[in-house]
């Protein structure tokens, strides 16, 4: 695995995608949410699932980004939070065996529960894309702020092995006396990314359009139950506190990609009549663009919120 300069090595193990609302807002303030996919192979089982813990930025980082954006200050005033040292974790595996079978997409949610005396208490949860709570890191990663003043005594205990990095396998840029990684560069990138999602027009306009269509799709159908529409969508699979027996899965599942149709945003959906479908290609595209604008405007007028069952979470960028 290649270690990318300026980034924590663990980020090379996964790909990350945001789970924010189309306008970048946080459905549940205080939580950071990010989609995680393993770069190599398919994850399954508890051992693999556990590896997802801690693979995203500390909650204190995300909090700092949100606060910075909330104050609308220039990027030059963005302050990197103090680095942290992991002290411990209490991990519980909260789903039956079959929920850990396939983990091509997982939702990592984390939040900063509290911070006291230089110690930060985080909570992390890992959800499958079928809506199973796979791992709960309750007591969570207990971190101490690695601030020079308050952390000196603790740091002394932690120092001895820092020099023992295996330099034979490392890029010399990382083989300095400190095994720690400066996160300033990715931190700025994180802020920029978050900022990008805050604008309604995300960096990829075509995708944004697709998202709005998706919102409309949800809204139209939500009365008849989201389960049937979402397929592998993590919002919904089981009802609130619904009892599941054995390996029983969500009801009314539909095949993967049949529900979301994200890659066919211009395509008329099943049951949706398009009276101009016989027009020439140019006119058709124009018509579709017009329809798309209309649905976007409609979604905006109505608040463009995706309905969720249970709490939603927020915005890692």
């Amino acid at each position: 695995m290649k270690i990318r300069p300026g980034l924590p090595p663990v980020t090379g193990q996964f790909t990350y995608r945001p789970a924010t609302n189309p306008d970048g807002t946080s459905p549940q303030p205080g939580w950071d949410l990010v989609w995680i996919s393993p770069r190599s192979g398919q994850y399954s089982g508890r051992e693999h699932t556990a590896k997802i813990l801690d693979c995203w930025y500390p909650a204190s980082y995300m909090r700092a980004v949100r606060e910075h954006l909330g104050r609308a200050q220039p990027p030059s005033e963005l302050r990197q939070p103090a680095a942290t040292n992991l002290l411990g974790a209490h991990v519980e595996f909260t789903s039956p065996d079959e929920a850990y079978a396939d983990l091509s997409n997982a939702l990592l949610a984390s939040r900063l529960k509290s911070s006291a005396d230089g110690y930060q208490f985080e909570q992390q949860e890992i959800w499958s894309d079928r809506g199973d709570l796979l791992v709960e890191d309750l007591d969570s990663t207990l971190r101490a702020k690695h601030v020079e003043e308050s952390d000196r005594s603790f740091g002394q205990n932690l120092q001895p092995n820092r020099l023992a990095l295996d330099r034979r396998r490392l890029d010399t840029r990382f083989a300095c006396c400190n095994a720690g990684f400066p996160l300033a560069e990715p931190f700025e990138g994180l802020a920029n990314l978050q900022c990008g999602f805050r604008r309604f027009r995300a960096p990829k306009p075509a995708r944004t359009e697709g998202i709005v269509l998706l919102v409309g799709y949800f809204r139209v159908e939500q009365g008849s139950g989201l389960n049937a529409l979402t397929g592998r969508n993590p919002h919904v699979p089981l009802g609130h506190g619904e009892t599941r027996v054995g390996s029983k899965r969500a009801r009314k599942r539909i095949p993967h990609r049949k529900g979301l149709r994200m890659r066919n945003a211009h395509e008329a959906r099943a049951g949706q009549k398009c009276h101009r479908a016989r027009k020439t290609h140019g006119c058709f595209a124009k018509h579709e663009s017009y329809q798309s604008d209309r649905s976007r405007a409609r979604a905006l007028r109505k608040g463009a919120q995706v309905r969720r069952l249970g709490g939603g979470v927020s915005s890692p960028g």
């Binding site: 695995m1 270690i3 090595p9 995608r17 789970a19 609302n21 549940q28 949410l33 989609w35 996919s37 508890r46 051992e47 693999h48 556990a50 590896k51 813990l53 693979c55 680095a83 040292n85 992991l86 411990g88 974790a89 209490h90 991990v91 519980e92 595996f93 939702l107 949610a109 809506g131 199973d132 890191d137 205990n157 932690l158 001895p160 092995n161 820092r162 023992a164 990095l165 295996d166 396998r169 400190n178 095994a179 990684f181 999602f197 995708r207 998202i211 998706l214 979402t230 993590p234 919002h235 009892t243 599941r244 027996v245 054995g246 994200m262 995706v306 969720r308 069952l309 709490g311 979470v313």
Partner: protein, 126 residues
């Protein structure tokens, strides 16, 4: 397969080299260490087929991307639940963990009372 390039030695459940690819800021992630703990416990006789239910991990000092081993300090089974305490060391301990494992006791499961929702992974593209 293990990311730690592990091997089993006579005294240790697991031995190998910590993979620097699992470093966060200045040490291995909790998830990586927990996965090593689970792999180690799975090598204990009779526990390979028992499901881990919880892991309590405590870091003693910063680990290095260097050789390590995992040893079991205590293992006890009572009431169908096994409790194992392990130590991860690089010459001296850098972390300890206790693991509880147990077989399935009932068929019924109850989904969590709260539910997280995020925009689908396909929504923002790659």
């Amino acid at each position: 397969m293990t990311d730690a390039h592990a091997k089993q030695t006579s005294g240790a459940l697991l031995a190998g080299r910590l993979n620097f690819g699992w470093w966060a800021s200045n040490g291995p992630t909790a998830g990586y260490l927990v996965s090593l703990v689970l792999e180690s416990v799975g090598r204990l006789p009779g526990l390979d087929s028992v499901t881990p239910r919880s892991v309590d991990l405590r870091i003693v000092r910063l680990a290095a991307a260097d050789d390590f081993d995992v040893t079991a300090a205590f293992a006890e089974t009572a009431g169908g639940v096994a409790t194992v305490m392990v130590t991860l060391a690089q010459r001296e301990p850098f972390a300890t963990a206790s693991v509880q494992l147990g077989r399935r006791l009932a068929e019924e499961s109850i989904a969590p009372s709260h539910r997280l929702g995020g925009f689908p992974p396909e929504a923002h593209g790659r």
